[in-house]
Symmetry: C2
Subunit: 513 residues, 2 copies
């Protein structure tokens, strides 16, 4: 039997921010733990005065997040317990103003995160892969953060992935390729961004590990680097320029997926809260960009439940801004959007038709990444690993049960039992997965089935997602427009259907930057 169901895991994710401590000197400390029932009423209290410039601006970007990712979380939370057909609203979906934005870049309707973040940060279209430069890949364009910094506002950049990854980089760097991680880190050191929080620096010593440590360069440029939980929780407005680096890492320096994080790991919400605590001490206000970067990674891998857990975790981070806004209702603007959709995720699949069963997702208790690591470890211990060796692990972490497993006969398990069709898919995927990357099939069929992912884990998420009624069309970004949610001072400017470059333009107009 499956022992650990992750309905529990997800409720922990949801409750995480309630337990997040803050021992800072309180200049920016805001009351925490508003209940979601109070959200609606509170939102109404926020000013939407268009004539005024917001003093405190939060821009939350869910990488790869569009309406389906958001509504999938609402459907899961609404339908999980009783099978009732109802959604549970996420906090930011109750914002009074919504817009829709197109996301194409100068090279593609299915755009890149570097170019889309540049569109939002600098108001221009550029090539996929380019950060903060025009289509000539040479001419830098002043970003909203640079403009607001010049006006005296403090700047915060938070991301759940590495701090020199494409999306955060577009708010402080100008490079021809998102792969120029070391150059981006050097620009970061000189950027005078006031607060950095979340993921580590990718390739801090350069591609070949032979450059001067970027962390040292940041220190030389006046940054206080807090990289233990204790140090991070102690961050306050007296710390000056600060970089709060996650002690818990996964995926080459990113923060762990919400589904994989330990209960006492610092969460994205903590890095937002500490940013507020650090930045609040200013007459001129602040601008904070916070990216939830692994919604995208989970969607690339077509892993719905990991995606949902990331979106829910993101709401905890957004809640920190909302709590701050309730204390500064006439000065705060909060925007929540995505940079593009990833995966072509849909609540609806050919075989399930008009039915869905999102409750089935709840037995998944780790991300595809954590599962890949687990299986990789098993392969190392036993190079002749058989599917039968792995079936108990699949059952334990995805809930899926082989047809000939005695547990398949238990009534509560019936929706988790693999059909003959699904079992055949699993067998084929396992066989592929046991091959080295080079030996794997490169047929069109294999590309459709697995993309560039481990055939076993991507087949498991496909099977579980499809059983729940979720379909995917791609392993890449897509051309689906993204919603924009706005609350607070100037929010009304963000209604309508516009281009992602207009988000920059509206912010410039609003702040007279």
């Amino acid at each position: 039997m499956v022992k650990k169901f992750s309905a529990l895991a997800l409720s922990l994710v949801m409750a995480a921010s309630l337990f997040a401590g803050c021992t800072g000197s309180a200049s920016g400390k805001v009351e925490d733990g508003k209940k979601s029932a109070e959200i609606s009423a509170n939102i109404e209290q926020l000013s939407t005065n268009e004539q005024k410039s917001p003093k405190y601006i939060f821009l939350f970007i869910g990488d790869g997040m569009s309406s389906t990712q958001i509504n999938a979380a609402q459907v899961y939370l609404g339908s999980n317990k009783s099978g009732e057909v109802a959604t549970k609203s996420l906090n930011f979906t109750q914002f009074p103003v919504t817009g829709l934005a197109t996301t194409y870049d100068s090279t593609s309707f299915c755009p890149d995160s570097a170019s889309t973040a540049t569109s939002i940060s600098c108001g221009i279209k550029t090539h996929s892969g380019v950060i903060g430069l025009k289509v000539d890949k040479k001419t830098p364009v002043e970003s909203i953060t640079e403009k607001l910094k010049a006006k005296g506002m403090k700047i915060g950049i938070v991301s759940s992935v590495t701090i020199n990854h494409a999306t955060p980089a577009a708010f402080y760097a100008h490079v021809p390729s998102r792969e120029d991680y070391y150059d981006i880190a050097l620009q970061l050191a000189k950027s005078n961004v006031d607060y950095l929080g979340g993921g580590t620096i990718n390739q801090p010593k350069g591609k070949n590990g032979d450059q001067k440590d970027a962390y040292e360069i940041l220190k030389e440029n006046g940054y206080y680097i807090a990289d233990t939980k204790q140090e991070i929780l102690a961050i306050n407005s007296a710390c000056g320029k600060t970089y709060a680096v996650t002690p818990a890492v996964q995926d080459s320096g990113a923060m762990p997926y919400a589904l994989d994080a330990k209960q006492d790991d610092l969460k994205l919400a903590d890095f937002v809260q500490k940013g507020i605590d650090n930045l609040y001490n200013t007459d001129k206000g602040f601008f904070m960009m916070c990216e939830s970067g692994k919604i995208d990674w989970a969607c690339h891998a077509n892993d719905a439940f990991t995606t949902i857990a990331e979106v829910v975790d993101f709401t905890n981070a957004i809640q920190k801004a909302m709590s701050f806004a309730y204390e500064h209702p006439n000065d705060t603007l909060i925007l929540v959007t995505g940079d593009h959709e990833t995966g072509g995720m849909t609540i609806g699949y050919s075989i399930t038709g008009y039915s869905t069963a999102f409750n089935l997702l709840g037995r998944q208790n780790m991300s595809f990444t954590a599962f890949d690591s687990l299986i990789s470890g098993m392969k190392k211990q036993n190079p002749n690993l058989a599917l039968t060796d792995v079936l108990p692990v699949i059952k334990a972490h995805f809930g899926l049960i082989a047809p000939n497993d005695p547990d398949a006969k238990i009534e509560a398990n019936k929706d988790y039992v693999l059909s003959d069709y699904e079992y055949a898919k699993l067998e084929a995927a396992f066989a592929e997965s046991m091959k080295s990357s080079k030996e794997r099939s490169a047929t069109t069929e294999a590309k459709i089935l697995y993309g560039s992912y481990d055939p076993l884990s991507v087949t498991l998420t496909h099977i579980l997602n499809n059983k729940a009624g979720i379909g995917w069309t791609s392993y890449s970004h897509t051309g689906t427009p993204v919603p924009v949610y706005a609350a607070g001072v100037g929010a009304e400017k963000f209604s309508g259907f516009y281009d992602n470059t207009d988000i920059f333009k509206k912010l410039v107009e609003l702040t007279k930057a």
Copy 2:
């Protein structure tokens, strides 16, 4: 070589409304033919005064239309000519206010058109398949049209599908099943809806054809039935209660797909215009619901180009309301939304990744329905029809070219040549298609590949769509939220993320109905 490219066909669709004549007595005649460049400026002129009740309300419902269907049309129109990465805005996407609505019904997150239309028309959640009744399937709920009629406003109902189909029915009928076509028609006759336009009555003599003709009953109830082009174009405000029935039909009494319609067929835009001409003569104003019903049908069949042509045709109908609004800028509200998404359509497919090639769609020059009819005729003439017999027809109507066709070597055709993988899919689909419905494969694989559609045509649209970079996840409705676009008096009420039942509630509030 393919002779007829439907870039032409689509530009005809777009221009259609410009040629639509109007010989009515002009009480409601409005200037037509505004250029899209003028749209933005004009929209700004419309009042958004929330304190006022709109006198003229247009509610446009694209059945099965969500953001991807809309943006696919924008991408096609923007990218078609030069391969440039840019979208061409549809008229209604420039409306100043946007909202987002959830669409689930009381039985499903992937809801039905009867229940979703009931949510919009009556403000309640009910079972899939139920029209205008509570979940007990007995208690009728007063619809927005009934409320506004009681206030003295005139009511118009227009649909491109049959007038007693689920969506239009929800605005005048109350029945436990959408299949109760005859009962719906009887309720229609007694509804006192002032103007009906578009599709015919489905099953006008009942399921078994043994009931009194519903058209006769409508006449007895005072309706003037105009069913020739000449009669329809002559409709004016002196006609009284009027039903303008499309002379051109397809799919058991619906209007033809825009892609299949003849140039001089009356279009959805004409039925909206004649509705305006008919309803305008009143102090109390009017409410018109106009459904584009075949966006949904094309999406069920996963036929992207037919979908795009329907969306574009819908903009022509919406343009009629916009032209009217420019003449009544302080009295008009226009809403455009979908009832749910259909098909899980995405701009993005696993194999094409970050690339798209929407221009490829342009060689398709008929809908899957028209193609099915064509092949069906060929089968009748030759029961031993071979794929080789059909390949020239496929080339002529979808542009797709077999690898061994001499035309495959022509440079301009290279993107249309079927890969070995695609050709194998086509061969398998053709073999299935030649079987009778009963003999066809009922495997999971077949259900994924073909749904309940003809295996040949659905495989052709899949191949063409996938080549263009479009993916689908389902043959049914999905749980993707739908956008709401609003312009004019009270438009601001429609910003935010809400439930489809709130559309009714906002309308009631606004009209004090």
